[in-house]
């Protein structure tokens, strides 16, 4: 990445990719964590219903 004499930034694609990558990872990760927590709570409720008849 370099800055041209007129003050324009050239390149910097690694930062762009990192930004989009971080966005994807965080959003997908959060959605996945929600899904697994929902399933886990569902399983616990079902297990308790089984135990108590």
């Amino acid at each position: 990445m370099r800055v041209a004499p007129e003050g324009v930034i050239i390149g910097g694609w690694s930062f762009v990719v990192a930004a989009y990558g971080v966005t994807a990872v965080v959003l997908v990760g959060y959605a996945w964590s929600l899904r697994s927590r929902l399933n886990r709570t569902q399983q616990r409720m079902q297990a308790r219903e089984r135990d108590h008849g």
Binding site: G12, R37, T41, M45, R48
Partner: protein
């Protein structure tokens, strides 16, 4: 069931819009005049910023409703809105740092009003989540986090103006105020993408809260103490 279907559609729509907007932002939109390709970060950064603040605004509304009506549904939605708002807030801080590094050569600066403001928003609303985690009694948990949410939201304009005056002599030029039409499109698409995705995430988080509260309500005392809040 109908409500769940609508939120699922919103989630799918959100993902589709985000993918489309990101594609346009990365490969179709022209590089910005001064910041070149680095400006493409703004196509996700600005939508996250808008929607983070929007989530906090919804959280404020849900908090007021929760305090006024005491219905658990509002508390569950409020929890969802705060948590999703914090997630988006963290995202925008990370994106902001990745934008700052190539633009100003540093990861962080106290000279950028928006960056400092976003950081303080994160602290305010992460604190609300922390409060929620440390209160065991469900009724108190709901009331107190609603109070903390109201207080945090009232603080938002105060913090903003304060930080702006604080930095008024040292304002660093961050984002371009006027934008090329070709740049507005991916930003708008992504803004709606994040909005619909946030809608789905808030609904899911509210549902998780509802299930947890239902589980805890009938749990034996030992189970409540032992079961960790995963």
């Amino acid at each position: 069931m109908g409500r769940q279907r609508i939120t699922t559609i919103a989630g799918v729509l959100g993902v589709v819009l985000l993918l489309a907007g990101s594609y346009i932002g990365l490969f179709v939109a022209p590089p910005e005049r001064h910041m070149g390709d680095v400006a493409r970060i703004l196509y996700v950064h600005v939508p996250c910023a808008w929607n983070s603040l929007l989530c906090y605004t919804f959280a404020f509304g849900f908090a007021i409703a929760s305090l006024a009506t005491r219905r658990p549904r509002w508390d569950q939605l409020m929890t969802g809105a705060v948590e999703v708002g914090v997630v988006l807030n963290v995202l925008l801080l990370l994106q902001g740092m990745l934008f700052a590094r190539p633009t100003w050569g540093i990861w962080w600066t106290w000279g950028d009003v928006r960056l400092v403001f976003s950081f303080l928003m994160f602290l305010l609303f992460a604190g609300v989540l922390a409060l929620r985690a440390f209160v065991d009694d469900p009724a108190r948990r709901g009331t107190w986090t609603a109070i903390a949410t109201v207080a945090a939201f009232v603080d938002v304009p105060l913090v903003y103006y304060c930080v702006r005056w604080w930095r008024s002599l040292h304002q660093m030029q961050s984002t371009p105020e006027t934008m090329d039409a070709a740049m507005v499109l991916p930003m708008r698409i992504n803004a709606f993408g994040v909005l619909f995705l946030a809608w789905w995430l808030i609904a899911a988080r509210a549902e998780l809260e509802r299930r947890r509260q239902a589980f805890d309500e009938v749990a034996e005392p030992a189970a409540v103490v032992v079961a960790g809040r995963a």
